[in-house]
Symmetry: none
Amino acid sequence: MFDLLFLIQINKLLINIVVPKEQRKRLILEIVQKTSIVDVDALSKELDVSTMTIRRDLNELNQKGLLQRTHGGAIKLDNLDLILSNFDLKLNDDKLNKIEICEKAVNFIQDGDIIYIDCGTTIFHLSKLLGRFKDLRVITNSLPVVLELLNFPNIKISIIGGEVDSNRKATYGKKSVENINEYHATKAFIGADGVSIAGGISSYDERESAITKNMALNADKVFLLCDSSKIEKNSFFKFLPASILNYLITDTKINKDFIKPYHDQNIEIIF
Amino acid sequence: MFDLLFLIQINKLLINIVVPKEQRKRLILEIVQKTSIVDVDALSKELDVSTMTIRRDLNELNQKGLLQRTHGGAIKLDNLDLILSNFDLKLNDDKLNKIEICEKAVNFIQDGDIIYIDCGTTIFHLSKLLGRFKDLRVITNSLPVVLELLNFPNIKISIIGGEVDSNRKATYGKKSVENINEYHATKAFIGADGVSIAGGISSYDERESAITKNMALNADKVFLLCDSSKIEKNSFFKFLPASILNYLITDTKINKDFIKPYHDQNIEIIF
DNA sequence: ATTAAAACGAACAATATTAAACATTTTAAA
DNA sequence: TTTAAAATGTTTAATATTGTTCGTTTTAAT
């Protein structure tokens, strides 16, 4: 917080440089990153522009997904969101809930594991929790997962090749499925749009479900991560029977009546 | 900031040299890199050209992605690319030169082409120039290339699967090579650390050269992109004879004596 | 629920910057 | 030298940025 801001201050005082808009926005971002929270008035004084200008700046930064606008100021998004800001705003939907689910999932991972990580906004958060492991191999078709894992030198990453779906930032298609089948993993962490004992695991996207399916089929243990609203619901494309699952990891809002019937199918529900 | 700028000042005063466009642009880049922020008026006075000329320069540099234009001037490009941090540092080495090489290369690409893009700091810049095409398929092992291409909706991207080299941000290894051989491309754009008629195409990295080699072997036309300092030089690992090349695209500083011997081998040198 | 203070955004005006068009100069080639 | 092409400068209308005012919305404290 000291260096850059300080320099700008000096510049303003001595050389009377007018800080242009883009530069000012970067400064704001930098300040937000360091202080976690900023308010319009303080920024206005700090940067020597009107509050209206600050508001306009914050709104634009908010629009780009670089910070979270609040009444009176803004708060920072964590690095993860920054990296993905141009990827997927959907990630922010109920993010806290998704992270909590992933925190329960990571407890099942051990050093030496070879794990599949599916694409999808819930499971994505798992990748940021893997830095604690000393020896892990991750096989994934999700670009955001790969980018996140590049931060962790102890993790060996393998990408599943194939055509890139530019919406999901993940590979899919025949080649990808063949590619997966050349690997074997100790654990698969997969996502879905619905799961039910009668209807099995289902998805809204047929193409991506082929990937998910083959990850599950090539792993010793299968973990389905999804929020509780998806349990005992069916999406349109059923691609696996529920019986393939070993664990269903979800949030605390789950209907407790579901626990027993799933347990009877040898699926343990974690919440 | 001192050295180059100072020399120019002296030149202007004593010898009244007019700084030509390309040199001026490099100078502007250098100033921006060091001061983080420049404004049109100051540059205009500093370099003794009209504001309109400075604006034109800044716009061209902006277009090439070498700085960010602002209202009133320009600022240094965001190194907020946490993802590619160490990649990006190397990227700055004579970026302008690399971009110019890639601009010559892009003229050989047509709609409907299927192209391989190798990893490497020179060829990386090619990916930024592909937005103009309506129908293109790109096969690559380079994550930075993939991330750039995701900006262009008309381009179909295929990733070569395999293990990720976290330094190069690219896949490599046995699986990757197998993966490449399942594709065929109309054109391959490859890089190297050295090329000579006697010694062939050579690289400093044996693992990555396996990828490069197989891209070349599976393409109709092969384009080697490298700066002129690498021509008629040998790096330690030779992986292909020069005769596989159709075009060698480089910068204008090339020794013109090389043109004929390469032409005799059916390799056209573009500079 | 009511109320006062704070924050907000729309609209406008003032100023600075920009790009387009055209004129001029410089450069390189014939 | 002549000529065409490229680069540069000048003028001017259009555009972008910013600050101010003011009515509206949100917040938080009663």
